[in-house]
């Protein structure tokens, strides 16, 4: 089930939390204002909320949509009359453009609000911006925000279905889903695969979402990177030795960010040193080993251009997957079921 999160920022009930189970901190009480008999609102906030069945359904839906995109007329009437608001507090090319196109391909109206040039510039709080946009009764709010938990806040204060397009270092669930989709389409299976995730795991919301997604579908994960960028407590094998990528079917390269080298931070001594030890080059890859990257890439830093552009690279395939997976997510939160036959009738363009 996609978890009901309306109450997430409401006071937790710790009655049983002494020495207890972490989930006790999550209140499950229905909100008093919720009219009886109304099903819980579906959001897409964290991979941790998904079941394996959810993942399979979403990937199947994406597959169906991908087939539809091969038609001459690419637009589907599925979400006609629905409003999808894209609220972006961080710069983004791939994610914002693919969400916008995904909504348009499904015939939804779209409204894109970026923090620069909006009232956010004038100091409007996230709550007030969400309430303002919520006044237009959007069906879906897609939000990217630099702070953990921002989508949960929007879900609490608006009536819209909320889709997390990346919150701080916490989650980027549609990225994880499109990566699973890419793996399934290109390697033909998920269970039993071995993926090495290389680089700055500590600051990566992609890595956090991927680890949960991999656990759901039975993919083995190995984390590889500099010691200060590998959190000790994550539930995965970890190594500081780049040789640890050797056995993996896929090498998933994370973006190495310049700000990690700020004075006083010293996560690694220099980008040069990072590249020398952990940069992904054709020489470090086994023949047939596939390469992925969530973008944007720093060519020549975490990934050698020859590796990025090789036939083994799945990087542009990931971008294409992004569109159909985001179509599937929008469809799924609004309908909650597998794609029906009717949804696949192309729009009659007058």
């Amino acid at each position: 089930m996609i978890r009901l999160v309306k109450d997430d920022l409401r006071p937790p009930d710790w009655a049983g939390s002494l020495g207890g189970d972490a989930t006790d901190a999550r209140p499950g009480r229905p909100r008093a204002a919720e009219p009886p008999g109304r099903p819980p609102k579906r959001h897409f906030l964290s991979v941790g909320d998904l079941t394996q069945a959810d993942v399979e359904r979403l990937l199947d839906t994406a597959h169906t949509f991908e087939a539809s995109l091969e038609r001459h007329v690419k637009k589907l009437p599925t979400l006609k009359g629905h409003l999808v608001v894209n609220l972006f507090y961080e710069s983004s090319t791939r994610t914002s453009s693919s969400f916008e196109l995904a909504a348009k391909r499904l015939s939804a109206d779209t409204l894109t609000v970026k923090s620069a040039g909006s009232s956010v510039d004038k100091g409007e709080s996230l709550k007030d911006t969400a309430l303002t946009l919520g006044a237009y009764d959007p069906d879906v709010i897609v939000i990217r925000h630099p702070q953990i938990g921002a989508p949960q806040l929007v879900a609490r204060v608006t009536e819209a279905h909320v889709v997390n397009a990346g919150d701080g270092k916490h989650q980027h669930p549609t990225q994880a889903l499109l990566d699973l989709y890419t793996l399934r389409e290109e390697l033909g299976r998920l269970g039993g695969l071995h993926v090495a995730i290389v680089g700055d795991v500590l600051h990566s919301r992609v890595a956090r979402s991927l680890l949960q997604a991999f656990a759901l579908v039975g993919i083995r994960a190995t984390l590889v990177g500099p010691p200060a960028l590998l959190p000790r407590e994550l539930p995965a094998e970890a190594s500081t030795d780049i040789e640890a990528i050797r056995d993996a079917d896929v090498v998933y390269v994370l973006r190495m960010q310049n700000e990690r080298m700020e004075p006083g931070a010293s996560f690694v001594p220099s980008l040069r040193e990072y590249t020398a030890r952990w940069g992904i080059t054709p020489e470090r890859l086994r023949p047939g080993q596939r390469v992925m990257h969530p973008g944007p890439m720093n060519r020549g830093v975490e990934i050698d251009p020859r590796a990025a552009d090789s036939p083994e690279s799945l990087i542009t395939r990931q971008v294409r997957s992004g569109l159909v997976v985001r179509m599937a997510v929008l469809y799924d939160v609004l309908t909650g079921g597998p794609v029906g036959v009717q949804a696949l009738t192309a729009v009659e363009v007058a």
Partner: protein, 433 residues
């Protein structure tokens, strides 16, 4: 050293309460008569003179009222969040007969003028006696000492840069040396800023999974070790604020055994919650130091039990609603606690058998009073009435009744608690009933 709206005192008899005063070694059903604010008679039930107020307290516990050594009254500067009047009203409702206020206000309490103005305010507004701490360093900037002598003469109970650490070991040494001439302890916020930098959540599994920058236990414990070593070397008196890590409790225990004049406190939230609570992403479980792991919580509880930690302190830190209705990382540190401290600890520690009631009562009253040289609230003939009447069976829901505090950022909002304050007497006056 304590200041309040002086004047009114009460006369009443509290009948048939179970009187529990661990320090006086009392635990029996007694009638307690208070005349003009002074306890004049302790006796078994007899015929009462009915010319004054009689409170039937059958089934209730009467104990020395609580002392909170760590409160943020937000005045001057953020009177929208708390005032001396609202903060002391909250204290009265929580069973406190005295509270100590931290100096990290706007401006910082670092001069006799600012402190003097606060003392005047307390004389006009304070529902229960308040003591004020003054800053260790000017503006709490950590580079020059305040004029501790004049501040002590103006009424400072102790000195603290709470909210921020004194980062320089050299300056901490000078502070220890100079504070000795005022005979006031230093209350220390122990945090090594180069280790905690940017951290919002205890560095552990929860932070790793959620993606929060980690604030490791060692960021606290190295600072605790440093300051205890300096206190030992200089012979100064130190009180470690809001202990959160097992390693810090160990350090304090060792230092006390070695004869260092050191004390410590723990908050109700650190004694009840762990960082698992952060999974809710509720900004009302964000505080500094952060909630830590279960072994840390257990170590704190052991410290409270064996007396290494002599005081429970709320670290009552009010914040405006709009500042907490934001994503977790954007929210300020701090939660309120005055109105829930006893009930929370009674519900989560005493009732499950993890902490004897007597120990809790001692750590909330005599313990903190001893550390800061305040008169110990006690149930004894001749003592000024500083008493709390507790109903251990009463259940209530936090937040159902409005808070007396101007802020509602309680970590317990919506929780059911068992144990309630029915009446508080502070300095001989009924301040809550």
């Amino acid at each position: 050293m304590l200041f309040w709206k002086n004047g009114h005192v009460d006369t009443l008899t509290i009948r048939r309460a179970r009187v529990v005063d661990p320090t006086e070694k009392i635990d029996e059903i007694l009638d307690v008569t208070i005349e003009d604010g002074i306890i004049t008679r302790l006796g078994s039930s007899g015929p009462s003179r009915l010319e004054h107020r009689v409170v039937d307290a059958e089934g209730l516990v009467l104990a020395p009222a609580f002392v909170d050594p760590h409160v943020h009254l937000r005045t001057p500067g953020r009177e929208d969040e708390e005032t001396v009047a609202s903060g002391t009203a909250a204290a009265a409702a929580g069973g406190f007969c005295a509270i100590l206020a931290m100096p990290n206000t706007e401006p910082v309490v670092d001069s006799a003028a600012t402190l003097g103005a606060l003392v005047e305010t307390a004389r006009h507004e304070a529902e229960v006696p308040v003591g004020f701490l003054a800053a260790i360093t000017r503006g709490q900037r950590g580079d020059e000492l305040t004029e501790m002598g004049e501040l002590a003469d103006t009424g400072a109970v102790a000195f603290s840069d709470d909210g921020v650490p004194v980062a320089s070991a050299g300056l901490m040494r000078r502070a220890l040396q100079y504070a000795s001439v005022t005979d006031r302890p230093l209350a220390l916020h122990c945090e090594e800023p180069t280790l905690s930098r940017g951290g919002h959540v205890h560095e552990g599994r929860v932070a790793a999974e959620l993606g929060f920058a980690g604030y490791p236990s060692v960021a606290e414990s190295v600072a605790v070790e440093r300051d205890l070593a300096l206190a030992g070397y200089e012979g100064g008196r130190v009180h470690v604020l809001h202990l959160s890590a097992a390693e810090s409790v160990d350090a304090l225990r060792r230092a006390r055994e070695a004869g260092v004049a050191a004390s410590g406190e723990a908050t109700p939230h650190h004694l009840v919650l762990t960082d698992d609570a952060v999974r809710s992403l509720d900004p009302n479980v964000k505080m500094n130091p952060p909630l830590r792991a279960e072994p840390d919580r257990v170590a704190l509880l052991d410290g409270v039990r064996d007396g290494t930690i002599e005081a429970v302190a709320t670290d009552h830190a009010p914040h405006a609603a709009q500042e907490k209705e934001v994503p977790f990382e954007a929210a300020p540190f701090g939660v309120t606690g005055l109105e829930t401290a006893f009930a929370a600890l009674h519900t989560h520690l005493v009732r499950p058998g993890l902490l004897p009631l007597e120990t809790l009562l001692e750590r909330m009253s005599a313990g903190p009073a001893r550390i800061f040289g305040l008169d110990r609230p006690r149930v004894a003939v001749g003592a000024r009435a500083n008493l709390v009447l507790l109903d251990l069976e009463r259940e209530w829901t936090v937040g159902e009744e409005p808070f007396r505090s101007r802020s509602g950022n309680s970590w317990l909002l919506g929780s059911r608690l068992k144990g309630a304050v029915r009446m508080t007497l502070a300095a001989g006056s009924v301040v809550h009933a």
